[in-house]
Point group: D2
């Protein structure tokens, strides 16, 4: 069996480095090249293999059967086209091609919401980290039609700092983040909302999401805490999620509230559902935990690539 | 002017130690005694003064004009009575005497919601840490009648580990808490809810609170993120809070989302209000940050004592 | 080829849990049973497999070909004998059988210092975490006879809190450890010293070790910073270590000072050697970083078991 | 009594901000101006007072009686001269004027080593953070002539990240520092060594310092762990330090190894001395803990200014 040569565009960020690591350890992939403009010429080691970062302009796109594009939002679409023209399949991790902001017709790579368009696709838009957690938590309820039309769904989510990228901003310094916690993009200002809304609509939902992200003093992990009104009391709400995600390798519906520790360094999403007591409006609390760099970025990109290429979906990933 | 002799019952916990420190540094108080059953006979230094912890049974209650009772829930009410019988005024930090769980008629020591019953009181019930943050955030809106009757108010709050007390439980070990985050008491199971509900009702509110607390990998601080539907769009919502809390020394209505750093080691509550965009139901996001050990416990107890004794309310406290 | 059934005695501590995880993921081992007296009857998941912890008294020793004994110091030797009598090979992680404190004749399982006694052994004493780091750092210099007789070697080492075990002591609570750092067992009082001294002597060294351990606000990892006088200036000191450890899978002599990050969750030891400038007495600084739970405990135990059983030494371990 | 108007040059860094805070809270000082080139025009609040940062070129030096110069090394000396020419007394926090690198004749502001040159001085060189900890630890032994001539003194010191300044370098990001630990400037390469050596010599010492600094995952604090050979066994070694520092407000010789927690946010230095057992060469371990931003920078600068101006030395500082 031959190894699939893989290129990573934008390997210096946290998602890019995680991708290189996952590719290097993947039993059916090998890292053909990795670009990192500002670190070009520098050596890095992934899975025991050494790589020399290339400038973007020197990316040997034609040598890769598969390209992961982990470039900044806005800079990515152009390189997806170049990689396609060079003959590679592409998983794009930016926001450029996603529902809500990108062009129509690009398959959305959240496999547990649907795989038919992913299998054999040439380009897949990899979801954002927050949308992954929020949509996995809400999809079973939306699809089952259990959320009242026009309802407000409150999402308080908290992310580790790698979600903000490997950018040396003062507010991401250790001495600013440690022993601290704060909300940001308050008032529905986060750029991931368009993606969430578009996918909610495509699933048949008609609801308003109020999304308040927070910055946690941890390196990795997202926990979404979601308050969602339902049309009627549901006696065993977790059963709905268990049924919806039956057979999914990376989704676990758990009996205790999930902790970031349970998912960090894995491609798993842990979901916990409970009924809110003492409410006149029947309401559920849905918790969803993922690793923002794995299921929320690089791991999901590998999962998508496995599907696109017809490889076993979980290959090279930890559940 | 003479110094007021103060006793602290239950000085080994985080709130008790913070109380001892604040009393020792207070310009008009001095630490007469401190009890800590399991550490009796041990020395501790507060504000440069050394204290030897006494057993509860040896507490010289009659030597104190003021007693802070920081005993565990359930063990406190009895000692409040003993201290009263010995002639001291008492601030009780436990849940035993609070609205919702305690007997009627005990003044509730959240001064910014009303001081008339506190001035000259002999016994005051000091609020819980979460209720302090939640009630300060909601009170202006409740009093103004801006929340629809029967509305659901979603509170996602996160607290530092000192909120769980100085108890050597495995789940509070460094290696379990660091780089982790999780919700607990999910589904409206937290014991602070009764207190919140009772005070909301006393303020004239008729609403359902859905409270989901989380454990943060920080030592101190609480941030409450509150989603609250309102009867109509409010163009300058922060003005309502500014007006309600005008003249309050320890409340700041701020223009940027508050961080725990902004309040840690102070008695201040920082409140931020914004309108959630893109919602059919007009909705506000109210954020409130406090230090759980100061405004959420020991600092507020000092503030209450200052009021009870007719001392300047902010004395011995940092804003 | 069949899987080797493995028992873990003392599976509730950090080292015990790490062992269960490594055994469950090992390609040629399977977890036959795990004991945890205080958690008997509880379920735990390792490598995707569920285990029910047994009481010590119910340990089915006869079902295991290999037993890892991760019991507290003092309680271990007795169970090593029982497991031997039941026919299993045993790796003992306690201090009970180690050089300096245990009986003579038990092979010492620091493979990079010598494997001949380990191959085929029935019982191996697994080294302490600090001794592993210190001895790997010093061995090449001792064996080469480059340390002056009677010299003082200063070892300042820092360990993550899992080194202190999964014991709910107040001083290991998050709020006590975070943003803190301190030395302990100061003045050569640490119980690991006897082990270090005995092995130094067995390597032919005649020197005095001054060992000052510190508690780091991290979960995992040890960094030993060692100041060692040498008999003469050595122009390329790292070459001595590279030569000594040639072919070793888990030792890397590195050009930049190692960080804990570089070794955490791996069985590797990273060593860095440099000359101290401006000293009248020729002096080297040797740095050695390991994960205290892997190369310093459970990983090294697997490595020893692989050698005892004649399996490939690195199987089931990450370099 | 009038307030002394104070200017702070370089107020955006961690030391500069700490200085502004201490000045604003000082009972006899007030913050006349603060410069921060890149943040010019921005508002900041210190001790409840708001300040607008000025560009360096707009610093109204003539309005200040006292100027703290917290500019980067190399940029400072020139501004010390300008401030002097404008008539202010100056405490310089950079390395530019310190012993070992600066010109001769500038008083060195480590008051516990000597105050005569500081009282009434116009310019004082404030010590580095590491030198403060190391020199306070060693001075009593040097002055007492207890260290053998030519001896090697091994200093392993660890500092919180604010010691590296408020500079957005990737290696200071939260996700790089948390759960990590590493040595740097290994092999006696740290720029603070010249300062340590010059002061050791001026105290009459003839010894070689081997200094290995480490980066801790904490915001603040330095712990120096010092191994020092002595000419003979000293039965009660702490007595030497207690005697040497008798009457010092900010030095405490303690019986238990100091933790960073004990000194953070104070101007105190805690020193612990013990005999290393089992060594042929009589050897002491001296531990010294300070807050790098207070006693190691801004607090010591205030202490120096108090002495220069004839104010009570401890005014505005916490012990």
């Amino acid at each position: 069996m031959h190894n699939i040569p893989v290129g990573v565009l934008g390997a210096s960020g946290y998602a890019g480095r995680e991708l290189c690591e996952l590719v290097a350890r993947h039993p059916k992939m090998s890292l053909a090249f990795a670009t990192a403009n500002e670190q070009r010429g520098q050596r890095a080691t992934f899975g025991g293999d050494e790589v020399v970062f290339k400038a973007m302009a020197d990316a040997p796109l034609e040598t890769a059967e598969l390209v992961f594009c982990a470039l900044p939002h806005g800079a990515s679409a152009e390189w997806v086209t170049k990689a396609r023209d060079a003959g590679a399949r592409v998983v794009d991790l930016s926001q450029d091609l996603r529902p809500g902001t990108g062009p129509a017709g690009i398959p959305y790579g959240l496999p547990e919401l649907g795989r038919t368009e992913l299998s054999g696709a040439n380009v897949v838009a990899n979801p954002g980290c927050y949308p992954t957690a929020i949509l996995l938590a809400l999809a079973p309820l939306i699809v089952a039609g259990k959320i009242p039309v026009g309802a407000s769904v409150a999402v308080a989510a908290a992310s580790g700092v790698t979600g903000a990228g490997y950018s040396p901003k003062p507010e991401l310094l250790y001495a600013e983040v440690a022993e601290n916690f704060r909300a940001y993009s308050v008032g529905n200002e986060h750029r991931h909302l368009a993606e969430v809304r578009a996918v909610v609509t495509s699933l048949g939902g008609d609801l308003d999401v109020l999304f308040t992200p927070h910055l946690l003093p941890v390196a990795r992990g997202i926990l979404a805490t979601i308050t969602v009104p339902v049309t009627e009391e549901i006696s065993q709400p977790a059963a709905l999620w268990r049924s919806h995600f039956r057979g999914e390798h990376f989704i676990r519906v758990v009996d205790s509230p999930p902790a970031l520790r349970d998912v960090v360094r894995t491609n798993s999403a842990l979901i916990h559902v409970s009924t809110a007591h003492g409410m006149r409006q029947p309401t559920l609390i849905v918790l969803c935990a993922i690793d923002n760099l794995v299921k929320g970025a690089a791991g999901q990109a590998i999962q998508n690539a496995n599907i696109m290429l017809g490889i076993e979906e979980s290959l090279g990933l930890t559940a």
